[in-house]
Amino acid sequence: MIELIDNAIQLTVLIGCCTYSAVQAIRRNSHVWFLLTCFYGAYALGLVYWLLFIAFHSTYPSISPISDLSWMASVLFLIVMQNTLRLPGESTYRPLAAWAAPAFSTVMCFFLFQWGDYFLNILWAVLMGACGYQALRGLLWATRQNNGLRNCQYFHMSALIFLLAEYSLWVTSGFWKAENLSNPYYWFDFLMTALFFNFLPSLKKAAIE
C-alpha cells in the first residue's frame, strides 16, 4: 500500500512538472523546455505502467522491464538536454575528474549484478555513466566562467544529484524489503520526488543564458 501511495505522489508531481514545462515550451517556443517535458513525460509513462501493474496484478512485472525502458528514455532525454545546454568551448574540455562518473557507474554496475538482470544493468551503467560524465564536465566548465554562463552549474548539479538519488534508490531496494516507512527505499523515493522540482528553476536559470 505504501508503495502505491509513494508512486502516486511521485506521479502527481511528475504530471505537474510535465504540464508546467510543456506550457513553458509552448510559451517560449523553447527547445530545452520541450526536452524537459519529454524527460518528465517518459518518466511518468514508466511510472504509470509500474503503478497500474501493481494495482491490477498485485505483483511486479517479471519477464520484461517495460518501466525501466521508459525510465531509460527519460535519462536519454536528460543527456540530450545536457548536450543542448553546452556552453561555448565545453565540447573540447575533457577534465580527468569527469571520468569519475563513468567509473562510479561501472563499479555500481558490478555491485548491482547481484540483484538485477545483467543486460539491463549494463545498459543502465552506460546511460548513467554518460549522463554523469556530461553533468560533471558541464559543472566544472560552468564554474570556470565568470559571467552569467556560470548559472548553468545549477542544472548540472541537479542532474548529478538526480543520478546519485537514483543509485541510492537501487541500493536500498536491494537491501531493504519492508513495506513501511522505516524502509530507507521510501525516503530516497520521496527525495527523488522532491528532486524532480529541482530541474525547473535550474533550467530556467540555464536557459536564460
Binding site: 497500474l52 517479471s62 536519454l76
Partner: protein
Amino acid sequence: MIYIENVLICISAPLLIAMLCGDKSNRPVFAFFIAGMGMCLLSAYINTFLASYYCADMVQATVEIAPVVEETMKLLPVLFYLLVFEPKQRWARSAIFYVAAGFATFENACYLVENGTSHLLFLLMRGFGAGAMHIVCGAIVGYGLLYVWRRPWLKVAGTFGLLCIAITFHAIYNLLLSVGDAVQTVGLIIPVLTVLSSIGITKLLKFKQRK
C-alpha cells in the same frame, strides 16, 4: 487455431495487384501497408516463441512480451527505409503511419477471425482503439525519428529512446485491456483521446504560428 498466414495472403493479394496496376507514385503506400501486415504476422510468431520460452501465461504474454516485440518489429521497415532510401521528411513520416495502419488492420482481422463479429459496439471501440494506439506509437517514433535523424550523434540513442516510449504506451494499453470491464473501456478510449488531443494541440500551435 487460426492460420494467420492465410489471412495475410487473402488481404494482401488484392493490395499487391492494386499496387502493380495503380499509379507508380502510390506504390510506397501499398508497400508500407503490406509491410505493416507482414510485421504483424512475424510479431505473432515471435510472441508465441517467447511466451513458450519464458513459460508466460496469457496476461504476461500480452502485457510484458507483445508490446516489446510488436513495437520493435513495426520499427524495422521504417528503419530500413530511412537507412537505405534516405527519403524526404514528408515521405518518411507517412511511411510510419502506413506501417502502423497495416499492422493494426491485420491485428484486427486476426481478432475477428478468432473471436467472431457479433459485438458491434465492442468491435467499433476495439477497431478505433487498436488503430489509434498503433498510430500514436507510430507517431511517437515517427516524429521523433525525423528529429533525431538530423543529428548523427543522436541516431542510435534517440531511436532507442523513442522505441522505449512507444513500447511503454503500448504496454499500458494492453495492461488496461487485460483487466477487462470498465478498465478495458478506459484503455480503448485513451489512444483515441490521445490522437484527438494531439490533433488539437498541433492545430493550436499552427494557428499560433500563423498569428
